[in-house]
């Protein structure tokens, strides 16, 4: 069973400290949700885990099954079993979705163990049908000209094709209508199992009606300030974040502006 362990993580972007000591452990079989107002560092956390070059870890550690993730290149992290569904997926012209997915799968399997074309196509057809995607999407260029909702669905398609140990879904729900939200949730629920851990980042409780989390964390000012079960998400939905701010004596929910 996989374990992603984050200890005392401090992260800066362009010299500005955004994360100020995050502690979190996600195990296979668990679904965690991180909620919080905009600008509090949720995407920064996901980018730092995946290794985006702009995000500098200044303190703390991230390990996956005891291996030092911070020592790994981005692609090595992915091959070790991490996956990030990005808030803003890139568009890449000239590479079809299918070619890209095959390259990604084969990168995991390694030279000599490549997936057969037949097997790949069968799996792709199956997952696309499950996510109610138009089969044409396989032959369109990667995310190019996709609508917001199509991009999100395509992230979940990649998740299902790549079958990571631990996935981080960064605002996979934003910009989705209810039908699309249900499909995306169906995809994530399909992945659920003891081999799969998931960290869902959202600021709407709505998503958690479809994917019931085991743990809910609240992030503010670059820290996880409160953790609990699914009932915490419901209270946030009903009452907002003010009560937490009051409880913790936080003035402004966003990261302080620099002078």
């Amino acid at each position: 069973m996989a374990v992603l362990t984050i200890k005392d993580l401090h992260v800066s972007v362009e010299g500005k400290e955004i994360l100020k000591g995050v502690n979190l452990e996600v195990k296979g079989g668990e679904i965690h949700a991180i909620m919080g107002p905009n600008g509090t560092g949720k995407s920064t956390l996901s980018s730092a885990i995946m290794g985006h070059p702009k995000y500098e870890v200044t303190q703390g550690s991230i390990t996956l099954d005891g291996q030092d993730v911070l020592e790994m290149e981005v692609d090595e992290r992915a091959r070790a079993g991490l996956f990030l569904a990005m808030q803003y997926p890139s568009e890449i012209s000239g590479i079809t979705n299918a070619d890209f997915l095959r390259a990604a799968i084969n990168a995991r399997l390694g030279e000599g163990n490549e997936i057969s074309l037949m097997k790949f196509i069968r799996k792709l057809d199956e997952k696309m049908a499950f996510l109610e995607m138009n089969p044409d999407m396989a032959h369109r260029y990667l995310n190019e000209g996709f609508s917001g909702g199509e991009k999100k669905r395509n992230e979940i398609l990649q998740l299902m094709m790549l079958e990571p140990k631990i996935a981080i879904l960064d605002e996979i729900d934003s910009g989705l209508d209810i039908d699309a939200l249900k499909i995306v949730s169906k995809g994530v629920n399909e992945m659920r199992g003891s081999d799969f851990g998931c960290l869902i980042i959202t600021h709407y409780q709505r998503l958690l009606n479809y994917i019931t989390p085991d743990y809910v964390h609240v992030m503010m000012q670059g820290r996880i300030v409160k953790s609990g079960g699914p009932e915490l998400a419901q209270r946030l939905e009903a009452e907002g974040y003010d009560w937490i701010k009051k409880e913790l004596g936080i003035e402004d929910e966003a990261v302080e502006q620099e002078a």
Partner: protein, 436 residues
Amino acid sequence: MTVETKLPFTQDYVRSFSEERGEPSWLLNLRLQALAKAEELPLPKPDKTKIDNWNFTQFRNHVVESKPLSSLEELPEAVKALIDLNEENKNLYVQRDHTAAYISLSEDLKAKGVIFTDIFTAVSEHSELVAKYFMKDGVKVDEHRLTALHAALFNGGVFVYVPKNVEVNVPLQAVYIHENPEAALFNHVIVVADDNSKVTYVENYISTNETANAVVNIIAEVFANTNARVFFGAVDNLAKGVTTYVNRRGIAGRDGRIEWALGLMNDGDTVSENITRLIGDGSFGDTKTVVVGRGEQTQNFTTSVIHYGKHTEGYILKHGVMKDSATSIFNGIGKIEHGASKSNAEQESRVLMLSDKARGDANPILLIDEDDVTAGHAASVGRVDPTQLYYLMSRGIPKAEAERLIIHGFLAPVVSQIPIESVKKQLIEVIERKVK
């Protein structure tokens, strides 16, 4: 370095060259007049590239002897890879240096009156037809020294003619092999699609030697007459030592359409000019070019669509990848003449830089002499987008492979257009080899 500008060939030489081939007098005279003009005319002036010191005129052999092929199996592997050897009804021309080495045209097309033959055979068998198109309304003899020199000395090429109302639905392929390192190639290609006809022509230039110092001067003239369609694909893959001047010109009549997909992969210094003249009302020109520059080479690519007719549409797309110390200028010119109302000129030029020492310059130009038109352009010079790289790597794809994918994606607009699988595959392989 100073370059000898005196031409290495005399009127007497050109006269006997032409007479030996039994050329009609119109062509002999055209050659002789052209040679005289080549003495006086200046070199072309490709914008932003200085070519005074390039060698376009000094070479040892105007004609070399090469053997015709008794079987395609005799071809070098690199050339065989371009050809579908299993296809029985080949429409294929292979030229070794100056020798028409292999030609085949399906009986079906022959019966329909399609002409696909080497330029010398065409001159002797269809003199009037060739005379009607040869350096008249397409490229003019006296545009500059290199067009004049070309007319005087052309020593290879093909002639394609598709009669009225004939649609050719399989590609015609020409392969020009630069075999002998001392051979100078002055290749002339004419593609004519007469009224309401349709044709696809794909050409490959390939060196099978590591040439030290050779001259190649290519002119292709393409005519889409009334309501005709021409698709013209090319992969140029000449060796490092070859200095190339290549001029591909299209003339579209009323409702005519010309589409170009050009993979310009030469390793030597190259001046490439591709102009499409939309003469007839409702005509259409689409020109897609991809380029990879590497090593020390300097290249200049001028692509232009000129609108004369009303309701004409012109599209220019150019994508270039520059590595090592390669230098390239990409000039894109959309020109709308007075009277070409309701026309649309669009262009996009993008250059991807893979090295600090490489230079790439995209110059989009719109020249508009008419009010009632639409036009637009986009240009950029940049590096591989780190966000795209991160995205691909986050799926487990190693950095080098991710870069490779992005570069191939960037060049896909032309690669995906090539209608012959073997040529497409070869273009992908050339790109692979060049960007590595």
